[in-house]
């Protein structure tokens, strides 16, 4: 990302704290996909953070520590993210052997952090997704139950064991719905309420802590449904746990193979129902 004044000021205002909730979420999303922007925010945190020295210290009540201690007793600090001994700054962060990522590098740290943030971001849409699941389930198995306008306009997705991701902005209304057929590793992206992209293209990305960079799953077509097969080369675990994100790219997709903008919509896959025994009619 080019560090223009807009980005510098955005990072500064994020740290200063003057952005509204949506803008803060957007900045956090940008930090997840753009290491340069993240570094920019962190440099402001370092500079402005010195102002804390002039805030009067106030002792918290004693019972606070008890609550913190019981909360953390259930949480192991992330084993993969170990700080080196102090004698060797600047640090090279070692990676625990269990972590299958190589080579060990600062990227690992960034990725874990990124994945965690993406997960948080995706959790925000889960509640919404739950509502949509019912609708999609009905569309898949009982389209006749729906008003004509809500019935799928394309052949129903093969219901071997579908997973669905609702891609939305900050937990807002769904923009795209991605349905994955696990057996065939094909997926369909359905437009669900998104502005036309004009002379640009929406591009779908897969973000996983198993990759060092987001992986493109291709351009979303202009029609209501875009069927794709790009998941074929990924294993099940990766597919299940990835975050799926949409960016707006130049027409035909990102020229670099990497997102050129922050994700606009994102979500994670969830199962929409158990094996569909009840689907016969």
């Amino acid at each position: 990302m080019i560090e223009d004044e807009d980005h510098i000021a955005l990072a500064a205002e994020y740290v200063l704290g003057t952005l509204d909730g949506d803008e803060r979420t957007r900045v956090e999303t940008m930090m997840n996909v753009d290491q340069d922007f993240k570094a920019l925010v962190e440099s402001w945190e370092r500079r402005l953070g010195e102002l804390h020295a002039m805030v009067a210290a106030v002792e918290p009540p004693e019972q606070v520590w008890g609550k913190i201690r019981s909360a953390v007793s259930a949480i192991q600090p992330s084993a993969a993210l170990r700080l080196p001994e102090l004698s060797t700054p600047p640090p090279v962060i070692p990676v625990a052997p269990a972590q299958p990522i190589a080579p060990p590098s600062a990227d690992v740290i960034a990725l874990s952090s990124r994945a965690r943030r993406w997960r948080g971001f995706a959790q925000a849409v889960t509640a919404l997704a739950a509502c949509l699941v019912a609708l999609i389930g009905v569309q898949t198995w009982r389209p006749d139950m729906l008003p004509v306008a809500m019935q799928p306009k394309a052949p129903a997705v093969a219901p071997s064991r579908p997973l669905v991701a609702v891609l939305s902005r900050d937990g807002g209304p769904p923009a795209f719905v991605m349905t994955v057929d696990v057996a065939s590793k094909t997926f369909t992206v359905r437009r669900a309420g998104v502005d036309p992209e004009g002379n640009k293209s929406y591009e779908l990305w897969m973000v996983s802590d198993k990759f060092t960079q987001p992986r493109s799953l291709g351009i979303i077509g202009k029609g209501d449904f875009t069927p794709k097969a790009q998941l074929a080369s990924y294993d099940r675990d990766t597919v299940d746990n990835a975050t799926y994100a949409i960016t707006l790219e130049p027409q035909g997709g990102s020229p670099t193979g990497q997102p050129t903008s922050a994700p606009i919509f994102a979500g994670k896959l969830i199962e929409i129902m158990p094996q569909p025994q009840q689907s016969q009619r």
């Binding site: 002039m54 918290p60 913190i68 953390v72 600090p77 600047p90 952090s113």
Partner: protein
């Protein structure tokens, strides 16, 4: 307060799951962090809630702290402020007029006793803030210390939000130029 080096050492130990180190880290930093979030939230119950979440996050994320990129206390303060500000924004804006004590807080100068703690970085930063027009100095410091949104600042300064937005942007870019940030 422990020295930065001692705090870095404690955070490194916390990253390895050392609960005794975590307790020492808490003891050394709790009053500062609580002061920061209480000033933003101005409600004891909310500040307690945020401080709990904040230390749980510090416990979980200690391994991500990078001493070559951040000082330990600014790292922890950032976590605390971000939590507090997110909560403020989620709760929706309160008009500063609905909160009379907010005006008093706004009139407060930052704690003068703590000036002994000033390090060179802080002196440089304050030097740069001091070069802004007086009203914009207050704008930036109120935003930082009280966690106010542009809307709340607009109300406090009796100025349209867009003007506040422009002031903030220019002020931050001026501070950056003054500090020589790249």
């Amino acid at each position: 307060m422990l020295t930065p080096t001692e705090l870095v050492w404690l955070i490194a130990a916390v990253a390895k799951g050392d609960e005794a180190a975590f307790e020492r880290l808490y003891a050394a930093t709790r009053a500062k962090l609580f002061g920061v979030v209480l000033r933003i939230l101005r409600r004891q119950d909310l500040a307690e809630e945020v401080i709990q979440e904040c230390y749980v996050k510090i416990w979980s994320n200690a391994g991500q702290f990078n001493p070559s990129l951040a000082s330990p206390i600014t790292w922890m303060v950032s976590i605390a402020r971000n939590r507090a500000i997110d909560l403020m924004r989620k709760r929706g804006e309160l008009s500063i007029e609905e909160e009379p004590e907010a005006m008093e807080v706004a009139a407060d100068n930052p704690d003068p006793l703590a000036r002994r703690e000033m390090n060179d970085e802080l002196k440089r930063l304050l030097g740069c803030v001091g070069k802004l027009e007086p009203e914009r100095q207050r704008l930036v410091l109120l935003a930082y210390y009280n966690g106010w949104s542009r809307e709340q600042l607009a109300e406090r300064f009796n100025t349209p939000v867009n003007t506040v937005k422009t002031w903030l942007r220019r002020s931050m870019l001026e501070i950056r130029d003054c500090l020589g940030l790249t």
